[in-house]
Symmetry: C2
Subunit: 569 residues, 2 copies
């Protein structure tokens, strides 16, 4: 079959976007080719997207993959409905070799073609953002607008960012070089050299439940753009967004004249635990994973044949020292705690507040006042049920609800969680965040290794809408607790509010020394739990929360190797 998408067509269509992306990752200025507003996708897009999503219900999602030996499915939306989609189950002894078959041609196509094909995949996904938004909403439990933005344009941005890094990295060494070494009066030594970016092997993406596309696209596109086939193993509760992605990728690959099996889906039967099997297969040379620390650690320890990129759990801290915009701080924090019911790996968990209170533009505020004002701010933000539903979304799974229900046992509850009814989806479990008061005095955490875990509940990740207002004796103590938390528990984000230059420098030093990303004095419309592709790094890759950052050169540079061929000149 002749390719329907020629390299020239791809170049005309996508090279300018690639160049803009390359420019953006160099300047870190704001940029995105993917509109955030649902209306930007055309008048019929909302209805079309919803119809396309609904048409999938109760169907077999055929991908025409080799080695399909059955069908499996069973996703139930956190909003209630069963999706009823069945996906192909793969005989991996058939599928994995089939995925390798197209590697040679994909490698030989070179970095630019691989980038442009990747951009075509992203462009087609972008055109179907409304459909993806519903798929993300009904697997993650995110409210529609968040599923639309985080699962659509923001995820596509992160995928494009990875493609840009991959392209840049693979083209730093020229394809050809002439080498001539002077030998005094004798003839120089001469060699012709060629350099090729060569893939490592099959790349395994182990998807997560909460952000299947946003957390999945960086690894998927980084590996594909560096020449590797990608096997997508979604979370069993969030298959659909990645199955749609795989379908689009396979279509585009085939139309561009490549083997569609370079991207494939691996779904699992209930309880099959296929990730453990796949992760140690010799064909699998790269793994991207987002999820629990336990399984991330297992992968790092056991999948020794692969490069393993993990985003695991962490404990995110906001240090509250002082502010010149008390209202803005409270509003900003209230939003951060509420968004997607705190089910983001970047949501603040521990708010370190001096026991003696803080100075603000509204006068001194005691610890109790700060906590009460924050609780009031959250309650105000979520006072209207429609608005609350739009911000909170639904709890993604029963484990989150169980943790929330147990929060009252962890300390004095400063703000109790409230149940919210969702008129459109009566089965949705919607809850406002809880705030628990905690004692952050040194004796709670300044123990020998392993000694504090049971004493201080805030030193364990409590994923979901539970945060701790941790009373500390001083800002110095808060800095020490912050350092300990990042070093031992990891952190995707750190926030701080201070009007003191000295404290600002001290927090910066802790973050530079313990390798955490810091947001200072956010009081407006940017939140500590949100990062923008092309400008912000997501995670540092240098503390226990994650061994990679999204996205930097280190995230892509080891997914391929440069193979050199020297010939005598």
């Amino acid at each position: 079959m002749a390719a329907q998408l020629s390299p020239q067509q791809l170049n005309e269509k996508h090279r300018p976007t690639l160049d803009r992306a390359l420019d953006a990752i160099r300047t870190r200025a704001y940029w995105s080719p993917h509109p955030e507003h649902p209306k930007a996708y055309g008048e019929s897009a909302p209805a079309d997207g919803l119809a396309a999503f609904k048409a999938l219900h109760g169907t077999r999602f055929d991908l025409d993959q080799p080695g399909t030996d059955g069908w499996t499915g069973g996703e139930r939306s956190p909003y209630g409905p069963e999706l009823g989609v069945e996906y192909p189950h793969a005989d991996i002894d058939v599928l994995l070799p089939a995925m390798r078959a197209g590697m040679g041609a994909w490698r030989a196509a070179g970095p630019e073609t691989r980038a442009l094909v990747s951009l075509e995949i992203l462009a087609r996904i972008s055109a179907r953002t409304h459909e993806f938004a519903h798929a993300v909403m009904h697997t993650s439990g995110q409210a529609f607008m968040m599923a639309f933005q985080a699962g659509g344009p923001h995820a596509q941005d992160r995928g494009l960012e990875a493609v840009a890094y991959a392209y840049q990295e693979q083209t730093r060494t020229p394809a050809e070089a002439d080498w001539s070494k002077p030998q005094g009066k004798r003839d120089p030594l001469e060699l012709r050299k060629s350099f090729a970016a060569a893939p490592r092997g099959v790349s395994l993406l182990i998807g997560c439940n909460t952000f299947p596309t946003w957390n999945g696209y960086p690894g998927l596109f980084a590996s594909l753009a560096t020449g590797n086939p990608v096997l997508v193993k979604p979370h069993p509760r969030a298959v659909l967004p990645l199955a749609l992605t795989v379908r689009v990728a396979r279509e585009v690959l085939a139309e561009s004249g490549f083997d569609p099996n370079l991207v494939a889906l691996a779904t699992e039967r209930p309880g099959e635990g296929i990730a453990k099997t796949l992760a140690v297969r010799p064909e699998v040379r790269i793994i991207d994973y987002t999820g629990s620390t336990a399984f991330g650690d297992w992968l790092e320890t056991n999948a020794r044949q692969a490069q393993v990129y993990t985003e695991k759990a962490g404990v995110n801290t906001v240090l509250v020292d002082s502010t010149d915009d008390y209202k803005g701080m409270l509003a900003n924090l209230a939003f951060s705690l509420s968004l997607y019911s705190g089910q983001m790996c970047t949501t603040p968990q521990n708010l370190l507040i001096p026991r003696d209170g803080i100075t603000t533009d509204a006068g001194p505020k005691s610890y109790d006042e700060v906590v009460a004002d924050l609780a009031a701010s959250v309650s105000g933000l979520l006072g209207d049920d429609a608005r609350a539903n739009g911000l909170l979304g639904a709890l993604v799974n029963p484990d989150v609800k169980a943790r929330l229900d147990a929060a009252a046992d962890l300390g004095d509850v400063a703000l109790a969680s409230r149940e919210i009814a969702n008129p459109d989806f009566p089965d949705a479990v919607v809850r406002t965040p809880a705030i628990v008061k905690s004692d952050g005095s040194r004796k709670q955490w300044d123990a020998a290794e392993g000694g504090y875990g049971s004493e201080a509940p805030y030193l364990a990740e409590c994923f979901g809408p539970v945060s701790f207002a941790v009373a500390v004796d001083s800002t110095e103590e808060a800095l020490e607790l912050l350092r300990l938390t990042v070093r031992d528990k990891g952190a995707m984000t750190v926030g701080a509010y201070t009007t003191s230059e000295e404290t600002e420098r001290a927090v910066e030093d802790v973050c530079l020394e313990e390798l955490a990303q810091l947001s200072l004095n956010l009081t407006g419309g940017v939140y500590v739990n949100q990062t923008a592709a092309f400008s912000d790094f997501h995670g540092s890759g240098g503390n226990p929360a994650a061994n990679a950052a999204l996205c930097d050169a280190a995230f892509v540079a080891n997914r391929f190797r440069t193979v050199e061929v020297r010939r005598q000149g």
Copy 2:
């Protein structure tokens, strides 16, 4: 103490060199600022260097390091003489915290200053190349000219290359960025962002016996230039070259106003095995290692708190299919097998030769003829004892000699090793290489995993002057054996001789698929076992011989992390 070397002085002196290096790694054209010829270092340099080396004999090599709790030493030159140098032994509970003390200032100095200080260290080492040459010769057993070039300018080139990669990598993200996101009719969201390259922690260099500087400098300078303190743990038989390096580094750091403890030496008492202890210390976050597969695998498995870069053992293959320069091929191979008695990780071990012979410009040659002609070529090259001593050097340690002595048991000996007397050093163990005939038929190696090890001696690394003339049934079989060898045993180098375009493409494909560096039809003055910094990659980092290549972006990009601070605009 005020810095004696100001940033401005360093900039004037070294920025042009850094820029040339950055240019070289982009073009891969020939370049080096470090002259290869001993005469280029000044008239008195040879005598001065020898005198400086001799003055070290029988002395205490004081480095004024914190935590020195005794003295240890005991190097004996492979040429015979005891060096009699004693080095500080460190209490690592004192030394490691002291090394971290200067990290903050070193980080804050930024990528350019760190690069320029690194270049000053290299420049001072370069000025003392003659002294280093003797130190390398009398620890590695390399002949003087090789110790001079590989241990001097070539090692310095590799160090400079690592500095250039480190600088480039750290400056890809700007130090500051303004970010402004349009919000329709509302005011844009604005943030000021800063990005800093932040080090991971103490970097441990575990040195090797054969190339203490050449294999040590890439990791040492990559880590130092990315802000990490570097603890140098030399091989107990090759301490002096790295101790001299540490001394120079400490001097330059102090003179530039930084803490000299950013670079320190850790020597061990006999049998102490300090590498295992250091490798799992929580302060150690990066490890560079060159040596045995067994300990490399141990490090990768156990030093989980660190980024681990290893160069281990491999089995290097040369595929002989056909040639249009039979004499040139024989001469080139003879030199490759002889240089440093085959004690290079890049020396060919297995020569795959069709049982039915090959076509050449000198007519068809049978397997036996090729082997006999190669044996004659080696004998001719090493026929003169003075020339032989200059090429072979000495066997580095008794293990190599034991393996050579056992070679006769591995097959028919086509070329027996010969003892060479060294008139200057009567105790030196100097041996010419042996060539052993082997059966490369498929039944010897096409067995289930683990089945062939005992049958085919050429599938195990036989480090030292032993190579195998492996008779294969066909070039196709040779290609399969090459693939198997690279995949299962690893390879630092692959060579091939062929006049067939088809075979050339097939060998290239194997190397691209199994990730090995290929040299084609070398018949002149470039040898498969030599690579040039700034142009050639040493190893691929993608097969079992090494998990990193010297030097690419992946070698440096994960030695630091980018820490971002966002402030509301």
